[in-house]
């Protein structure tokens, strides 16, 4: 490899060959894409080459929003949905986290319940709607239960995965200093599992929002889900889309709220 340098040659600069493979998100571009898509549909529906059966006119959807806002119906629908979401997800997530931690800590619980959770996971919640009415009534109970049930399983799976991933060397450290079992769980296992639990919660809450519609199939008069269902039953696309947009916004809000919590609680991550 070592070879005499041809003496007369001029020095050349080394060729650059790095860079790339590090894409960055950019909020602006997202907004532009949305604006373009909306403008496109508006144009299409106005010009007629998108039939009114296929998509609503975005300006009409906006009109529905304005109407919802002015009539105060927006909050009449939003308030019960939010309370269902909060209560249901809180129940499901807290049971899920508790069980997940138990599974993560105790072999017996794990052996007994992991297969049960795995079997429950692929059950579609809407299939069980008639049963939920019998089990939990048609009032808020069944709505809470449905959302709680939907958030429960993914939370369990995420939580025990997070507990499993807690650095075992930290636990051995705790034992080597003679910390009590309780201290190890509270001061090492729980904080160590927190990142995994929170990112599981992100998914669980998205599922909770999706289940809102299913939950409000059950005798709900007000609620975004009920609103969407009614609009669907009447094939009223403007209102259907308005409802869907609200849910989508709700999803974005919830996800960025979790982002904030992560920033707060998990500042220690490098």
């Amino acid at each position: 490899m070592s070879e005499a340098t041809a003496p007369g040659q001029a020095p050349v600069e080394v060729r650059f060959r790095g860079g790339g493979f590090a894409p960055k998100a950019n909020r602006w571009a997202g907004a532009v894409v949305f604006a373009l898509a909306i403008a496109f549909v508006e144009w299409g529906t106005r010009a007629g080459w998108i039939s009114a059966l296929t998509l609503p006119r975005p300006s009409d959807v906006l009109g529905v929003f304005v109407e919802l806002w002015q009539s105060g119906l927006l909050f009449k629908h939003l308030a019960p949905s939010l309370s269902r979401l909060v209560v249901g997800a809180a129940i499901g997530a807290s049971f899920g986290v508790t069980l997940g931690i138990l599974i993560g800590l105790f072999s017996h619980v794990r052996a007994a319940l992991v297969p049960v959770v795995a079997a429950i996971f692929p059950i579609p919640k809407i299939a069980l709607l008639p049963l939920f009415v019998i089990w939990f009534g048609i009032d808020e109970g069944s709505k809470y239960a449905l959302i709680a049930f939907g958030t429960f399983t993914p939370t369990v799976v995420a939580t025990y995965g997070a507990v499993d991933n807690v650095d075992r060397s930290l636990i051995r450290m705790g034992q080597s200093f003679g910390l009590s079992w309780r201290s190890i769980v509270l001061k090492i296992v729980l904080p160590g599992a927190m990142p995994g639990i929170l990112s599981g919660l992100r998914i669980s809450l998205a599922i909770a929002i999706i289940l809102l519609v299913a939950a409000e199939m059950l005798g709900a008069e007000y609620g975004i889900g009920a609103y969407i269902l009614e609009a669907g039953a009447l094939y009223d696309l403007e209102r259907l889309f308005a409802g869907v947009v609200i849910l989508s916004l709700l999803g974005v809000v919830v996800s960025s709220a979790i982002g904030q919590i992560e920033k707060r609680l998990l500042g220690w991550r490098s």
């Binding site: 059966l53 009415v133 009032d139 094939y235």
Partner: protein, 312 residues
Amino acid sequence: QNRKIVVGALRFTSHAGSFVALERGYFAEAGLDVELKFFQAAQPMAVAIASGDVDYAVTAISGGLVSLADKGAIKVIGGALSEEPGIDGQKILASDAAFKAGLTSAKQLGGRTFGMTSAGSSFHYMGSKVAAAEGVQMSFKPLQKVGAIIGALKSGQIDAWVIVPHIAKPLAGSGAVHVIGNISDYLPRYQVTTVFTSAKNAAGERDKTKGFLAAFGKGVHDYNAAMIDKAGGEAGVNAMVDLIHKYVYEDQPREKAAPSIINGTMRLNENAALNVASVRDQLEWFQAEGLVDAKITLDTLLDTSYVETFEA
């Protein structure tokens, strides 16, 4: 004695009996403090009666209702909406595409696809009966939701459907679908909806149940008188529309809602009388189709001790 009861309802004119009885104080007169509970569909309402969340409700007879009766959960105690020759009732609809391809009357339904929510629904029953009467075979598409059926019909993916007039007429008016017949031509005295309650109420709460039926009956009478017999003339109709508008199409302005409400007018059985013959026919059809247990008898489904029954 102000007894609290929960009455289930859909936001349809066919539930006007309950609305009128509540608005005009007939329930209160009967010593009943009624709370109306609204549903998106009939099936959960039936389940809600079984679970005890709702005391009384009105809905079409379906396989699910019979099944719940078979489990000892509910009883049919009276009749509500009926077809009646001469009064605008449920309409058989054809999609525009099928209509242009020759489906202009129910006679041409052979080989067509017919929309329904699910097997064992009233749509299924009506479609089968029409096909049987015309001696043709149709295929039935379960689409679960009325919205999905309307979408499928408008876009020509199913050929035919049958639905209450206040939905049928605006659809036909838009030109996307066409009315090709009336159910009353095939099932002239069809008992479309019935009043039902939990088996426990029917057996153990006779006073309460009687009270409910009496008040409901008065509501029905007022409704029939105003809307069908036009006893109060134009003013009577308007007053009734105002009343119903509180519950049906409430999010639309009065002017827009009124035609829909008037279009939806159908006879409700006076005094909640029950057409046992029609109910028997429906039960036998469900059994013949294998949708419900063949051992179920009419007595399991009906408690005829409350209202007048008739066979027609």
